[in-house]
Symmetry: D2
Subunit: 266 residues, 4 copies
């Protein structure tokens, strides 16, 4: 059966991708769009989409629900008001797939309980890139057996922070699995400061910044006579779409709130 999908945040960068993704997917139908302001009668009126994209636009979730009966609400807006909207969706029996962070622990607990009581699926995923989530999971698993690890993350040179959030999260996950220990030779010496990278519980993280690069990370795990490398390359925003599709399908089959794609995958 076709899954009836509504999208909130359809005009944003992620939202536009999601619109195209749902439109092209044969198992789904884009039944409506939620916006915080008046932007026209249909998606096509925004001039961001072809004229054949005729999903109606609503500014009120109740009306949207009443008139278009979506199974799922994909929410790709900013963190503000996302909690209220998610709760309201659950009340209306619409299953939320949320791509923004911005929930407090209390709010998450409350939504989790609410979904459980009502036996309704809800997925909240700060990172929809399936490949990146797999990379992190595999690195975490592998570090049990190959506990010497270094991370090289590579991004375009307009990125402000180093290491990247994904590298930090990967290191954090790995550090739960491997015995903390310093790596390299005990008498190792940097003749040029910083050569050995950042030290996270003994693991080393290296941040490369070059024009041309997009978003890439490799986790290197060394053992006697061998090297295991797990690498993810994200070439464009489309990399998030497989996670959106997976979440839409999964939210229809679960009866609770799932936080993080890593609990769906694997």
């Amino acid at each position: 059966m076709t899954i009836r999908v509504a999208i909130a945040g359809a005009r944003g960068k992620m939202g536009q991708e999601a619109v195209h993704t749902v439109m092209k997917n044969e198992e789904m139908e884009l039944v409506s769009v939620l916006d915080y302001k008046e932007i026209g009668k249909t998606l096509a009126d925004t001039n961001l989409f072809p004229s054949s994209y005729d999903a109606p636009v609503y500014t009120e979730l109740e009306t949207l629900h009443k008139e278009t009966k979506p199974d799922v609400l994909v929410d790709l807006t900013s963190p503000e008001a996302v909690y209220e909207r998610t709760k309201k969706a659950l009340e209306l029996n619409i299953r939320p797939v949320v791509g923004t962070t911005g929930f407090s622990d209390e709010e998450l607990d409350e939504l989790t309980q609410y979904a459980k009581d009502r036996k309704i699926g809800c997925i909240i995923a700060p990172n929809f890139a399936v490949g990146a989530v797999l990379m992190m999971k595999f690195a975490e698993q592998a570090a049990k057996y190959l506990p010497d690890v270094e991370i090289i993350e590579m991004h375009h040179d307009q990125k402000l922070d180093a290491p990247s959030g994904t590298a930090m999260k990967t290191a954090h996950l790995i550090s739960d699995q491997r015995p903390v220990h310093e790596q390299g030779h005990v008498r190792e010496k940097e003749t040029l400061k910083g050569a050995r990278g950042a030290n996270y519980d003994g693991m080393r993280i290296h941040s490369v910044r070059l024009p041309g690069l997009v978003a890439h990370q490799q986790v290197l795990l060394g053992g006697e006579g061998q090297l295991l490398t797990i690498r993810h390359d994200s070439f464009n925003r489309g990399s998030f779409m497989s996670g959106v599709v997976l979440s839409i399908k999964t939210v229809m089959e679960t009866e609770e709130l799932i936080y993080g794609l890593e609990h769906i995958i694997g």
Copy 2:
């Protein structure tokens, strides 16, 4: 407690590595060595090891058992006679860790039953390279979510067969997980025959052979806007030793026969 280890096949290439590995491991003790012929009183007499390597050499498993009481027998000999020796070890209450293939299905079934009845651990592993086993497991898992896969395996140019056994096994494992489908464009055309590699259930396998290379494999999984790469480099025979160590420890804690490192790992 220290694990008392005996090794069969200590003079072979793998065997020599295993001797060094056990000697250096603080949780283990090399108590004796089994050889099919008289090679001297101790390991050192073979001139293959330092004079401090004084583990006694036996040609009979019973005598070896009586005089040195090993917990584990690491068997790195050739396939011949390995079944009888493994069975004998189990009877003597020595836990076998076997690195050779060469068991018939009937023999495996019998040993499995025997280990189960006696509640004694036994590990048989055709491939001890932990990193390679992890690569295969991860590729298999990832293909569920990123079902477009190509394998590039790279070996020295003295290798006779292409694709490698590991590549074939990886493809086999993946094909159990992903929907069979042809990859590439339907109207794709090879202007030079063979460019698109070997076709395994729609997946493509590419075999690179160059002087200098050792044994390397990467599995590439592509999805919209992203690429996940899982790569294993084996630089020398030492790559098998982490699997030997892991098996010695695990065989002490299990009460049945385990076939394949993949059932220990992950």
Copy 3:
């Protein structure tokens, strides 16, 4: 001194990139645009560029020349009529930088002689990607010393032909430098047809096609105990722009026709 640049083909994909590139370059000024039809008074009128892009649009090269006096004409149109336009530019003392193929040998000879006689620079480059040209040059040089070579090219799965044009050209260049010889073991056997890739004078070429990939190539050169890898990743059309900039600067300093970026670089 600022180089005065005119662009033909500004509305095409490459052309749009070139417009942005010249606009952002402090050593250049975009003085005008040539189009084959009426598209408005300025670039901004096309709705493809910001309103600040006010370079005037002409349909006749003579008028364009008379009114905007460009030093260089960057031609990113299709092959048709490019020969006449290039010749006309030379006559008007405008230095052409041409990114399309589509010249016959006779036409090239004639333009070469003409540029030489008039001591005026002219650059024709079928491939503006500086990195790809460097990769080919380096592979060619390295093959003299490491004559065992395999090429792995990787593209998105909508590409129809395999191997890619760049892979074929790379192999062709290398084959001029290395002694022709079969690679791999003489008794090498494909247990799965195509595994060893396409055979180009003994070199092997492997074509990977996966969704998510853009345009990537690596040349592997193996020797005893070592591997040299030269890899180029093209992530988007911007990769051609460094070649356009380099050509614009170089055409101002040369007094002859140069065919192919490889004769500027290195």
Copy 4:
């Protein structure tokens, strides 16, 4: 014509490799070996080589020369006494191929003049790995066109210094070619110290240390929309042998002293 080769330092690690290399090369003949002490009558007497390796061993270069008339002396000893031996070889009209450092500038100048006067070839090469020398040359050339560069060098975890000597030399060569400039965003921030690696004239160098690794380096050059990567993997000491062979051949054809393989190659 077969080149008659003598080797000094044949019992060392590099020396043993060189012996095998010359023995297997059809264009060369190993006519004798120089040692600083009595080690037997022939190479085979050292027990380091097969009994068929019957090149005679000498402790005096004059006697060796008189009785075996070598064309080339390959010197793979330690730095001590290498200057005197090289000078003596030139006097005896033997062409030296020297793999050790340890010459003062004055000594090099004197040998250079001496070789020039006598019109006799002499090659001194601190690094015989052809692939590594090519990597450095290519990186240097490419940096003219793609001036944003980062270096990742990867070695086994027993290495004491970071960055490696090769990485430092590569950075030094590149810095001669590219305009000095800081890379990355001006407001870039390390949230974990050292993440961005060592800073060499604005270029970043990252040193990875993991068990299992041997000696690997990649130079990454980024430009708009593209990345050029030049990588060298050294898997074992055999990687130096192509440079030894190349030097033996080249020293027969030159009439002067050449310092550094980079002046032979390319």
